[in-house]
Symmetry: C2
Subunit: 420 residues, 2 copies
């Protein structure tokens, strides 16, 4: 678990974009936007008495877009939600943790459909408008009797986002939620979200669940585009362990209750919406990285001077994913050679003699050669709860940032005893 002091986010507190104002909302979450309600219950799916079944519901029908796992083994709730979202509409999401409902065949699909039906009945909508999200152990059937009994216990409220945030946690040690208020050209709207990590996390959507909500009225074409862009700079730049799961899903629902004119691509409002959505997703992505399984440190790798954005992204992701880099940072070991080795194997064209490497503000390599530095100061950087790594390739102008966490003995302990 990483404590992230508020001061690191001070520069996000107020961001001015054109005529827009974007402010983080204190204790914001997935129900901060108007008309969204949520709730959760401890249905008994997880072993301990913890929230594990939840519901998100919008008082008005939503335009909805999502990105799904790239894993070719797709969990039943992913198959079902993917199919239902072809309509571009949804009104509710039923969520469980403790069981992924993956590798469960036809029975799994029937169970996911029944979960949606139960939820639809509870809130009085058509099952076709309900999406399903599951996370947990792969290969076990959903305990439907617990879900049937539990779903009626869920009480929805405008403050229920916090419960939902806890209900989707698996090995997460902290809930991940936030919201921003946006004011642009006389319109005001809110974007909020909730996410979970914290293992099987790797680029290509990371492995995670994320539900985003907004009361803005958003054109569905732009909504898709904005989600893809936001995910590219946030969840797709997070790596915990190189594994990706069959259950990944990032969903956004826009219910239009803010009453603004529909936001269309290319407009001033679209720019503000994109920036706000990026901030929400980056905030959640960093929380996921910092709360990776067994993590004690957040690692932030920024590659600059790359010939292209694609190469900057690849290099940053490779370094932040390297088990050897992660283990060294865990131990506060100033083994910067591993960072050089990782960028060298990333597949990005690098020129060794042009590379500058920084740990925090301390330059340890200039033009590919070690430079002398204060070891005491470097150990200070490495012992911090956030370790920034800066790689200047000096080949171009593109920059990208990726986030991850250190690799600890505890990661192994958690993952060698997940089922037993």
């Amino acid at each position: 678990m990483v404590k992230i002091s508020l001061s690191c986010y001070v520069h996000y507190d107020i961001v001015l974009v054109m005529e827009a104002r974007i402010e983080f909302i204190a204790s914001g979450g997935v129900t901060s936007a108007q008309g969204f309600n949520a709730g959760a219950t401890a249905a008994g799916i997880k072993k301990k008495d913890a929230l594990d079944l939840g519901l998100l519901f919008s008082e008005a029908p939503c335009a909805a877009a999502a990105l799904f796992t790239t894993n070719r083994i797709k969990a039943a709730p992913v198959v079902l939600s993917q199919q239902r979202l072809k309509s571009g509409r949804a009104v509710a999401v039923v969520v469980n943790s403790g069981c992924a409902n993956a590798c469960t065949g036809e029975q799994g699909l029937r169970d996911a459909a029944e979960m949606a039906e139960l939820a639809a009945e509870g809130v009085g909508v058509s099952p076709e408008e309900v999406l399903v999200v599951s996370t947990g152990v792969i290969g076990l059937p959903l305990p439907m009797e617990l879900i049937r009994a539990g779903i009626g216990q869920v009480i929805l409220s405008g403050d229920g986002g916090h419960e939902l945030a806890r209900a989707i946690m698996t090995t997460d040690t902290l809930p991940k939620e936030t919201a921003v208020a946006v004011s642009v050209d006389g319109s005001e709207f809110i974007i909020g979200g909730v996410a979970k990590g914290s293992g099987m996390i790797h680029p290509n959507l990371a492995t995670l669940l994320c539900l985003l909500t907004t009361d803005a009225t958003v054109d569905i074409g732009f909504l898709h585009l904005a989600l893809r862009k936001a995910v590219d700079v946030s969840f797709n730049m997070v790596s915990i362990d190189g594994d990706t799961s069959p259950n990944d899903m990032v969903l956004i629902m826009a219910n239009g209750l803010a009453g603004n004119e529909p936001i269309l691509q290319g407009s001033n409002q679209a720019g503000a919406f994109q920036q706000a959505l990026d901030q929400v997703c980056i905030y959640l992505a960093k929380r996921i990285a910092g709360d990776g399984e067994g993590a004690s440190k957040l690692i932030e790798v920024t590659v600059s001077g790359a010939p292209s954005i694609a190469e900057a992204r690849l290099a940053a992701r490779t370094v932040v994913s390297s088990p050897l880099v992660k283990a060294a940072i865990h131990g506060g070991d100033p083994n910067w050679g591993r960072i050089m080795a990782a960028v060298g194997r990333s597949g990005v064209e690098v020129v060794e003699s042009k590379i500058d490497l920084y740990l925090g503000n301390i330059c340890v390599v200039r033009e590919g050669r070690p430079v002398s530095f204060s070891k005491r100061e470097l150990l200070g950087v490495l012992s911090d709860s956030e370790v920034p790594i800066g790689l200047q390739l000096n080949l171009g102008t593109a920059t990208a940032t990726a986030w991850g966490c250190d690799l600890s003995e505890e990661y192994v302990t958690i993952n060698s005893q997940y089922m037993t």
Copy 2:
């Protein structure tokens, strides 16, 4: 450290290929072939009083071929050896552990060249015929005063391969060496080798050093080809941690002292040579996998029924590299869903409903669905020191095997304190 019982290799003890006979030599190594001598000394490069500087020398000039790291950051000894091997000839290799001489700029190149000169002087050959191999920490200069003082202490002998095997170890807990005797069409020759792991190991030559020797006379064109093929089924199918180093090198030297007619591609002798070389490399690769940093188990993943060899290889390598699979096997946790998730994200086209999954001889998934099995028997398989995983994709006829090890708390401990 993994103890590999001899019985697992019984099926390799005698292999009949066409008219050929291939036998593993007891206590064989890199100096088993005629005319190869080696030796090592404790020069003080490693912290403890351990062998860390060695020399391999052939009494007759050799045809030589090598494969080098694909990392774009290349260590000085790699740059030097790669350039010298353009001639296709070599007679000696000087080796050190404890310092990789990587990221050391012009000084590193000068140091590598001096190391070759010192060795050449000692054995009375031209420096151009001497290759250099280094392994250890990246970014530190070679302690040349120790190397200058140590090189004269190395005493070559026909039994010195065992010393050399220990001199190239870093975090390896066991030396890795073997040799086979080949008899084909009236000719007899030996192929031997020595290798080291055991971190920064991943396909694309793994991260390793391997020196192979043979007294066969081999056409240089075929030697290149045979090495590439052998590496493809051995070192390129080993993964410890997904990292690759700037120092990887697999070298083969053929001195012709067996007096056979030159082995040319397509001949009966070439078939026997290839099979023998494959066996030597697979043996060494498995030793590297089983002795991965912190490893307590060797994992062998065989993917069959793939549409192509490339896809079989990719799927096997992805599963054996998955941190979550590795951690589960470390803990003896029967979390087979992670194997399904790993093959699903491998990029190989799989059809979930066709996959059969075996742990040892126990089928846990048939046609994509969990099947009931004896948990007691499965825990028995998982508690063994070798854990075989079999994935039948049922899409084609191609098969490939990859090797790796479990992920333990000790791996993290080793790698979080490598320099400190």
